[in-house]
Amino acid sequence: MTLATHDVRWSAGGHLIVDGITLSVEPNRMLGLIGPNGSGKSSLLRLLCRMRKVASGVVTLDARDIGDLSRRDLARRLAFVEQQATTDVHLSVCDVVRLGRTPHRAAFASWTREDEEAIDHALERVGLTDRHDQPWHTLSGGERQRVHIARALAQEPRELILDEPTNHLDIQHQLSTLALIRRLGLTCIVALHDLNLASLFCDRICVLSAGKLVAAGMPEAVLTPDLIRRVFGVEVRIHDGAGGRRHIEYIIDGDQGETP
């Protein structure tokens, strides 16, 4: 158990958005966070990386309250990839990845060999070494997401938090992005919308609904027709796919197929 929340609550504008969530992620595993829009996924992720302050409860990293860490120490340990973060500044791919070195560098320090290596290594891991000097605004959505992941890797984290990294990507890039994240072998918490992708790539899944944790466990145990009906209000059929993974088929209104 590396990163964990203990009965965490957070509210915005008088509404309780995150309502007493306790969860944890095992080292080097991928935890998927699913739930309908407004269920509190993004807010929970922001509490996990201390971008928002918990109203009550505690977030721990190796059993230490993350509120006790300096923001800089936290950034050397844990990296966050936002959903669709973009910029008007004219940056190259390498400029963006370099930002990941921010928590490792003192105010007036110049670039060290260690920084260079971290940047090169990060670009290599996401397969963008040859795009080193390409301007940010000429990249496609999938490439931008990979650059953000490279920027996060340049922080040399052990924990990686991603907020819907496949949003707005075509299916090929959704698959390759998640495969890439999985290959990294870091402790990951990923918010996802697509239930099939979550089931395909995550070791464990936590389901949020109205700010509460309603289910947690292995994908095949959690993603049942009953739970999906309760949480998402959608009827599904579940098929056994190749490699022990399962496929979720959505049933459109009026299509009364038999359930297995």
Binding site: R46, C49, R50, M51, S70, R71, R72, D73, L74, A75, R76, A79, F80, E82, A85, T86, T87, D88, V89, H90, L91, S92, C94, D95, V96, L99, G100, T102, P103, R105, A107, F108, S110, W111, D115, E116, H132, D133, H137, T138, Q155
Partner: protein, 345 residues
């Protein structure tokens, strides 16, 4: 091109530093020789030697006075003012993530003008406060109001800019109300002239105030250069990179506010420099603040000295307010930069 170089290239750095100093010295040299009374460079140098080191060269008292007490202090003040406004612009553009942000967006100059007319026309503060003192108090009051408004509205970039616009409108209206109802024609003209910026009244004591403010401000800004880079993808991204966003924002807003308020109090409000120079500098050295801020300092300083010279020679026997000259030359330059930097769609 420069993106690939990671380790400091000392030869290139020294070359750029030397070039910058040479450009500044040349600009100052030009500024002390050009004017209604053209003074040869040799004479100017002797006068400088007398003024700075008491060398006792034979120069006429008038030339000595014009060079040392009038033109040199004026040129140095122009340099400080240009550099400080350009750095403030670069910082605000990064913090607010808005290319149109500039020092006056925080209401500094509007507040300064209200403070100045309160002293000039209403006679508040009597002789102790003075015009500069009134302008400084006014700009700090406007800033405090804008900061309160922005914080109350949530403190996001858009809210800061909207609060600044609201504060500026309020203080501009107050200034206009005072000028139209209470000022004589003579006073109104004086206010107008002051509002557009004027280096004519600068003397050495002003520099004893402006120099430390500019230097300390620059060092504070430079120490936050890396944090400023981290704002490229927004405040949440900066936070996730380990930047203490709240503290950095407070320190840098306060620093730019103090820089701008000091300059406005001494020379009046000079538009366009804080907006245009950072864009020009970014065009030359790229968006990294460790290079951008020194570039803004040098380019802003040289630009301001040159525009001050122009303001003295464009119309014979008359000095144009510096704000008119910066806008006359800055606006087309800005248009050219915008056009040249047009992105591929």
């Amino acid at each position: 091109m420069s993106h690939a170089v990671l380790r400091p290239n000392w030869a290139a750095r020294i070359a750029v530093a030397v070039l910058s100093v040479v450009a500044l010295v040349l600009a100052v040299a030009l500024a002390v020789t050009v004017g209604e009374m053209t003074i040869p460079l040799g004479t100017a140098l002797k006068a400088l030697g007398n003024g700075l080191f008491d060398l006792g060269f034979p120069t006429s008292a008038i030339q000595q006075g014009v060079i040392f007490h009038y033109r040199l202090s004026r040129a140095l003040m122009a340099a400080l003012c240009g550099g400080a406004l350009a750095i403030s612009g670069a910082i605000l553009q990064a913090l607010l993530r808005n290319p149109l942000a500039e020092p006056y967006i925080l209401g500094v100059s509007a507040g300064a003008s209200t403070g100045a007319v309160c002293v000039m026309i209403l006679g508040l503060g009597g002789t102790t406060l003075g015009l500069s003192g009134g302008a400084f108090v006014g700009s700090v009051a406007a800033l405090a109001l804008v900061a309160l408004l922005a914080a109350g509205a949530g403190g996001t970039s858009d809210r800061v800019i909207l609060a600044g616009v609201a504060g500026s409108q309020l203080f501009t209206a107050a200034t206009s109300a005072i000028v139209t109802t209470m000022a004589s024609a003579e006073q109104a003209r004086g206010v107008m002239f002051w509002l557009l910026g004027n280096f004519g009244g600068v003397r050495w004591p002003d520099l004893w105030v402006a120099t430390p403010v500019a230097l300390i401000g620059f060092i504070i800004c430079m120490s936050h250069a890396k944090a400023l880079d981290a704002f490229a993808f927004g405040t949440d991204a900066a936070r996730s990179l380990g930047v203490a966003v709240g503290r950095v924002r407070f320190v840098l807003f306060a620093t730019t506010a103090l820089l701008t308020a000091t300059m406005v109090a001494i020379v009046g409000s000079i538009g366009f420099v804080g907006l245009v120079i950072p864009h020009a500098a970014r065009f030359l050295v790229g968006p990294g603040h460790a290079r951008l801020l020194p570039a803004c300092l040098v380019i802003g300083a040289v630009f301001m000295i040159l525009t001050d010279i122009l303001s003295r020679v464009l119309v014979p026997q008359q000095i144009l307010p510096i704000g008119i000259v910066t806008a006359l030359f800055g606006a087309p330059a800005f248009a050219a930069i915008l056009y040249g930097a047009k992105r591929p769609a």
